[in-house]
Each structure stands twice: as structure tokens, then as C-alpha cells.
Symmetry: C2
């Protein structure tokens, strides 16, 4: 990191999602002047300018882009399942919106565009112990293809316009605020199963290994990316170590002090056996390393689920 960007105005697109809320909060705490854009209604968040609107509203987006030095792009959903069901629709909505937003930002004079990609899906199947950013990319689902296609288009936008694009390939984020209803992640699904005593469906035999990264660490990576002043680049953001699905379920059981009933579904074939990110580049370029050990992160997450369960035991998934 050679120099610090002067204007600290940051626009967060897709600010009301699981990651978005934490990124927005962390940016405000770090002293940035933050505008949060989302189609969802405004959240209470001190020091953040909330705007309810869509990235497809081009006049709105253009106006906002002109007023901000940096844009963090988190829109586009986190739902691999729905992307597979309607790939062409995915292209017409999410992929199109991502590329269009970058083009508008470049034209509006934005200097840095931070894109949230998916280290958990862009690489695909591999036997590598750790996946570096140079590893070949062959996603196994449409969500990963959409993220990879976005990365490639943004790379061309950067070459054509000079807009600096920082792509953060995030592994499997977890933490307080992640819901189980949206199929967002194993930890949330396991927490929901622990507190509801409903059965947790598990694809395969539970041996697949994933890289789980705590929400606070992910938010810190985005804050660090806003200080980055080098050329366009792609950076893994993960724990750098792996846990099997069975290990994660056991960790959730320990933290919640509840048993989880697991239904092993052995018929799914398109899962990568191992996906663990190499995170050396993040340390080198962003000065970022994950700070929250898995046990701590799971304990904090369990505490949040416990509070939720006590607060509204019958409407667990609907609470804002």
C-alpha cells in the first residue's frame, strides 16, 4: 500500500445483505463517509446515509457514483441454488447489473471499485491444499460462473477505462445476522437446526472441506480494500484453513450445547471435495489477516441465535 486515497466517501451497493450490513458498519467506524444503497428498506446504522433504491435505476446510480470516490459492490445475491434454476435470468439481472454499474462508475469518475466475488465457487473442483488466485477457474454452479464472468468483464472495464477494480474472492462467510432461510451457509443452517431441532440436510457424507471466514474479518477486508491504492487485482479472503462439514456441525453442537439431527443426502455430485483459500496475497497487498478464530466466531454466532430464539421462538427466521 503506497498511498492513501484522499476522498473517503464510499458507496456500498447491496448494503442490506448479511455481508453488506457489516461492511457498512465497519466502514463508518473506520471514519469513512458512507452511503448505503439497497432495494431493502433503510437500516438503523449510525453515521450511514441510507438510500432505498436499485442498481437498475441508472439516473440514481449515476448521481451517486459521481459523489463517491469508491464503490463497494455487494449486490447480486448469495443464492447458488436459484442461479442454477434460471441461468439466463441470472445473466439478464445480476451479471448485467454488475457490468453496467462498473461502466457507470468508470464514467462517473469513481477511482476504486471493490467487487465481492466468491472464492468458494469460482475455482471449482481441485485437489490443491490451498487455492491461490492463479489457480484455474472452473466453477461447478451458475452462481460461480456469474461471479467469474463478472470478474472477467470488470477486468476489461478496468483496462478500457482505468477504473481500479479490486476483486475480493470470499470463501464461506458466517456469523451473527446470517439467516438460514436463504440457504446462505452451513453455519446458519446448522444453528437453525440446533435451535429448532429440525433435521439438517447434508449434501454428501459430510467429508467435504471448506474455508469458513467470520463476518467481522470479511468486513475488515473490505475496509482494507478501500485503503488499497495499487493496480487492479484479485485477492482471496478466507480463513486460509479448512474444516469438514462434520467438524463444523460438531463445532455448532458444542457452542449451542445441542445435538443436531443430520440427514445425509449422498446423491449430489457437483460438490468440490476441498476448497481452502491461500490468503498470502491479502496479507501482502491489504495488510489483512483473519483475526477471529473459528471457535470464537462460532460462539458469538451461537449467542446471537440463542438471543433470537429467546426473543421470538416461533418466528426465528423472520425477525429483522
Amino acid at each position: 500500500v503506497k498511498r492513501t486515497i484522499e476522498r473517503k466517501t464510499v458507496l456500498v451497493v447491496g448494503a442490506a445483505g448479511f455481508i453488506g450490513r457489516h461492511v457498512t458498519k465497519a466502514l463508518a467506524e473506520a471514519g469513512h463517509d458512507v452511503t448505503a444503497l439497497d432495494v431493502a428498506p433503510p437500516e438503523e446504522s449510525p453515521g450511514v446515509r441510507w438510500i432505498q433504491g436499485s442498481v437498475t435505476d441508472e439516473p440514481l446510480l449515476t448521481g451517486l457514483a459521481k459523489a463517491h470516490a469508491q464503490v463497494i459492490y455487494l449486490a447480486g445475491g448469495s443464492l447458488p441454488a436459484s442461479a442454477n434454476a434460471d441461468m439466463a435470468g441470472e445473466v439478464a439481472t445480476n451479471l448485467h447489473a454488475t457490468v453496467r454499474t462498473a461502466e457507470i462508475c468508470a464514467r462517473a469518475g469513481v477511482t476504486n471499485f471493490v467487487f465481492a466475488s466468491s472464492g468458494g465457487t469460482v475455482y471449482g473442483a481441485s485437489n490443491a491444499r490451498q487455492l491461490s488466485e492463479q489457480h484455474p477457474t472452473k466453477p461447478l454452479n451458475a452462481y460461480g460462473v456469474s461471479k467469474l464472468a463478472s470478474e472477467h468483464y470488470l477486468r476489461i472495464v478496468s483496462v478500457m477505462t482505468g477504473l481500479t477494480i479490486v476483486t475480493l474472492r470470499i470463501s464461506n462467510p458466517y456469523g451473527e445476522g446470517q439467516r438460514a432461510t436463504k440457504g446462505q451457509g452451513l453455519v446458519a443452517a446448522a444453528m437453525a437446526a440446533a435451535y429448532s431441532q429440525e433435521v439438517l440436510p447434508c449434501w454428501g457424507d459430510g467429508s467435504v472441506v471448506r474455508d469458513f471466514v467470520y463476518r467481522g474479518d470479511v468486513a475488515a477486508a473490505f475496509v482494507a480494500a478501500c485503503r488499497y491504492a495499487g493496480p487492479s487485482t484479485t485477492i482471496n479472503v478466507g480463513a486460509g484453513s479448512g474444516k469438514s462439514v462434520l467438524e463444523m456441525i460438531a463445532a455448532v453442537e458444542l457452542a449451542t450445547r445441542r445435538k443436531i439431527k443430520v440427514d445425509f443426502q449422498l446423491n449430489r455430485v457437483i460438490d468440490a471435495p476441498r476448497n481452502v483459500l491461500a490468503i498470502g496475497r491479502a496479507a501482502k497487498l491489504l495488510g489483512w489477516r483473519p483475526q477471529v478464530p473459528l471457535d470464537d466466531g462460532i460462539t458469538r454466532t451461537a449467542r446471537w441465535w440463542q438471543a433470537e430464539a429467546e426473543r421470538a421462538p416461533t418466528a426465528r427466521d423472520e425477525v429483522a
Copy 2:
């Protein structure tokens, strides 16, 4: 090639383009029952059922897909320049149409879907003497990104639906019928410059090496792909050898017996220095090898340009 596909009905989507016209003709000559779909008006072509319509007309496309065993997808333009200028538009039109068509074909019971990708652009910059299908893909322009993104989405469609997808990565096709007006290729541009005595703009110093493949050989590869009965795959289609831009200009000068005035434009930076395809897989899986030597192909092409020039010397680019 283990077995031959029984139903020989083939739908060619994007049949009126440079490649499309030759593929359609070659398929009819090989005894296939061919339907040609294009937004452009029908062409005279014996034994081919021409339909003027768009891939975005879903009822039409669904009906056609149900009536054909195989689909060859050549729609989506051949214009790298325009793709760069409006990337989001490119996503919303070409990429969306490609993925949507494949999804419709899978649902309609099509067995084979042959996709025309671009071996000339999907790989990007590399020092490799020859590029195999396993070579990393990092396109340098939006056209290449669109082709690569299509490949990835189609791969997922194949996994999800069982539709066999054969992706042909074509290098730089040339031959009779290729126009210079659309920026479709160096040979056409050089032919136009030779006969018009206008200046030929040349990006760089003319040293970049490309793989040029004759239109008849490309058409034969598509016919061979319609006999393919293995699993989904990606196959390079090219000459397997390279020529520099200067060598190609010299070859066109020789065949046309005219001098070409070249304007070297040294400021373009996003060209790969070398792009030559390895074509062993095409030989192995399709029994296909290029048959027309470059000199022959250039001579045939020159003859066509000569006839065009004599027929309508002042409207060279507008003749149908």
C-alpha cells in the same frame, strides 16, 4: 466416435453470417435435414429450410428446438470492437440469448448443442507455441469474455440437464464471403485494401502471430461435431500453425497481384503476441483436420474478391 446419432435434423441458429452460410450448406450437402434460423432475410440455399426470426422469439425457438435433434449456435456477432464499447449491453443481449437458447433446447429434448466459441480470444495473452484446450483462459476483450462466460454457463446447463454441448473454439476464419465492412478479419480487410487501394490500418508492427483457418475447414468441423456422440467437450478448431500479420498481408498481395498500403498504428496494447491453437483433440474426437492449405485458401478468397470487384467495383462492400 462410438456411435452415430440417428435423427439427422439440425437447426442452425445464426445461419446468415459468414460461418453460418457455409455450415448450413455443408450440412445439407452431408445429407442432414437442415433448418436455418436468422434475423436476416432467407438466403437461396438448396435443401435448406430457411426461417427468418430471432432467438429472442421464445415460442418460435421452443417449437424449432422440439423438432430438431441437434442445434448449432452461431448467433451473437463476430465484432470484438462493439462488444468492448457496451459490455453491459453485450451481456443483456448476446450472452443472455446464448444461455436462454441452451436452456430451451435442453427442455425441448435436443440431444446435441454445438456452440461456436472463439479460440482467437478466450485464451488471452500467452507465450505458448500452441494453445491446448486446457490452457488457462483470460480474454483480453469483452467479446472473448462473452464467449468464455457462455462456455461456462453452457457447461453448467449440460451438467444440470444432460444436454451434450460441444464447444468449438474457432481461431481466425477467413474465405470467400467474409466482408471487410464488419471488421470480421484481417484477410477480408487486406483483400478490400488490395482491391480498393485504400490504406490498411494495422494494429502494432505486424509481428503478432495468428492462426488462420479456411471457411470450408470450419464448416467441416461443424459437420463433424454433428456426428460426435461422446460427452460434452471443448475442441479447438484452427490451422494449428501461425502466420504473422505481415506474412498474411504478403500472401494477399501475392494472390491478388496488388500492393497493399499499410498504416502501422503502434498504440494498441491489448493484443496477444501469439495465438496458435493445438488441434490434436479435434483430430482425436471429431476425426477432423484442416484440409485447405493457406495459399489455396487465400487464392480462392482472392478470386472471389476479384469477381466481386468486377461485378460492382463501386459498391464492393454492399453486394449480397
